[in-house]
C-alpha cells in the first residue's frame, strides 16, 4: 500500500512535468506571438529541476512534495511563470495532507487559484493561466460522475476561449488589441498539466 501511494505521488508529479517539457517548443511559439518568447524554455528548466529531484519528492507526503516542487519552480524558472506556478503548487501543497478526495482537492485548488490571483495581481478574463485554472476549480467543486472527462473538456474549452481575449495582465497586455487572436501560453501550459493529472487518475500515465 505504501509503495502504491509513493508510486502515485511520483506519477502525479512526473506526468505534468514531462507533458509540459514535451510541449516546450509549442509554448515558446505561443509566447513569441504575444509575449517575450521564453515560457517554454523557462518552464522546461524549472520542471527539469523538479524531475531531477523526483525520487526525494515522491518520498514526501503529497502536500510537502508539491511545496518542494513549487520552490524548485520559483528558484529555477526566472520568468513570471516561476513565481506564478511556484505559488500555485506551494499553496496547493499547503492545503493537502496526502492523496486527497475530490472535495479536499477542490478546496485546496480554489485556495491555490486565489493565491495565484494575488501573486499576479490579476483576475479571470485577463488572458492568463487563471482563465484555465478558474474553470478547472469550478469543475472540481461541482464534481461529476466522470470527473476527468469533465476536467479535460473544461480545460480545453477554457484554453480556446483565451484566443479572442485582449490581454490585461502580463507582457501580452503591452500589445493591446494585437494580443487578440492568440491562445495564451500560460493557459495552455496549465491545460497540459491538467490533462496529465487526468491521465494519472485514469491510470494512463
Amino acid at each position: 500500500m505504501m509503495a502504491d501511494v509513493r508510486d502515485l505521488r511520483r506519477r502525479l508529479i512526473k506526468a505534468p512535468a514531462e507533458r509540459v517539457i514535451a510541449h516546450a517548443e509549442e509554448l515558446t511559439t505561443l509566447d513569441q506571438a504575444i509575449g517575450d518568447g521564453d515560457h517554454g524554455i523557462n518552464m522546461k528548466r524549472g520542471l527539469e529541476a523538479v524531475l531531477a529531484d523526483l525520487d526525494k519528492l515522491a518520498e514526501k507526503p503529497l502536500g510537502e512534495a508539491l511545496k518542494a516542487a513549487g520552490m524548485h519552480l520559483v528558484t529555477k524558472v526566472g520568468g513570471a511563470s516561476g513565481p506564478l506556478y511556484g505559488t500555485l503548487f506551494m499553496s496547493l501543497g499547503k492545503g493537502l495532507a496526502d492523496i486527497p478526495d475530490r472535495a479536499q482537492m477542490a478546496n485546496a485548488f480554489r485556495a491555490a487559484v486565489d493565491a495565484v490571483k494575488a501573486r499576479g495581481k490579476s483576475d479571470f478574463g485577463m488572458k492568463t493561466m487563471l482563465d484555465v485554472l478558474g474553470p478547472v476549480a469550478e469543475t472540481l467543486e461541482a464534481g461529476s460522475a466522470e470527473l476527468t472527462t469533465a476536467l479535460r473538456q473544461r480545460a480545453a474549452d477554457a484554453v480556446a476561449a483565451t484566443k479572442p481575449l485582449q490581454a490585461i495582465r502580463g507582457r501580452a497586455s503591452f500589445l493591446g488589441e494585437r494580443s487578440k487572436g492568440h491562445i495564451d501560453p500560460g493557459a495552455r501550459s496549465s491545460q497540459l498539466m491538467v490533462e496529465a493529472v487526468c491521465d494519472v487518475i485514469e491510470g494512463r500515465a
Binding site: 517575450d36 520559483v74 528558484t75 526566472g78 520568468g79 513570471a80 511563470s81 516561476g82 511556484g86 499576479g120
Partner: protein, 129 residues
Amino acid sequence: MSQFVGIVIVSHSPDVARGAAAMVRQMVGEEVPCAFTGGNPAGDLGTDPLKIRDAIESVWSEAGVAVFVDLGGAEMNAEMAVEMLDPARGEKVRICNAPVVEGAVIAASEAAGGSTLEQVCATAEELSP
C-alpha cells in the same frame, strides 16, 4: 552597516541593472549602499529570486531597503525574495512602484539625505503617474 536606506536594482537585463547602479553611484558615491541584479538562473534575460534576496542582504540597513524592478516577472520574483528573508527584515523592504532607472537614482539621492524608507519610496513613486 549603513545608516542610510539601501537601494536594490532589479532588471531582466544584467546590463540595464549594472548601468542603473552606475548612475546611482555617480549621483551619491559610495555613501548609500546599492546592489543590482539581472538575468535568470540560466543567465538569460529574466530575474532570479535567490539573487534578489542576496542583493537585498548585501545592502542591508536597519533603515530598510528600497527595491526597484522593471517588468512583471521582476516584481513577482522580488516579492518572492522578500518572503524568503527573515520576516523581521522583510518588513523593512519596500518594492517601489517607480521606473527602475529614474526611481533608483532619485531614491538614492533622497536616501543620502538620511530620509526614512517611506520618504525614499514616496519620492521615487512621485515619478509614477
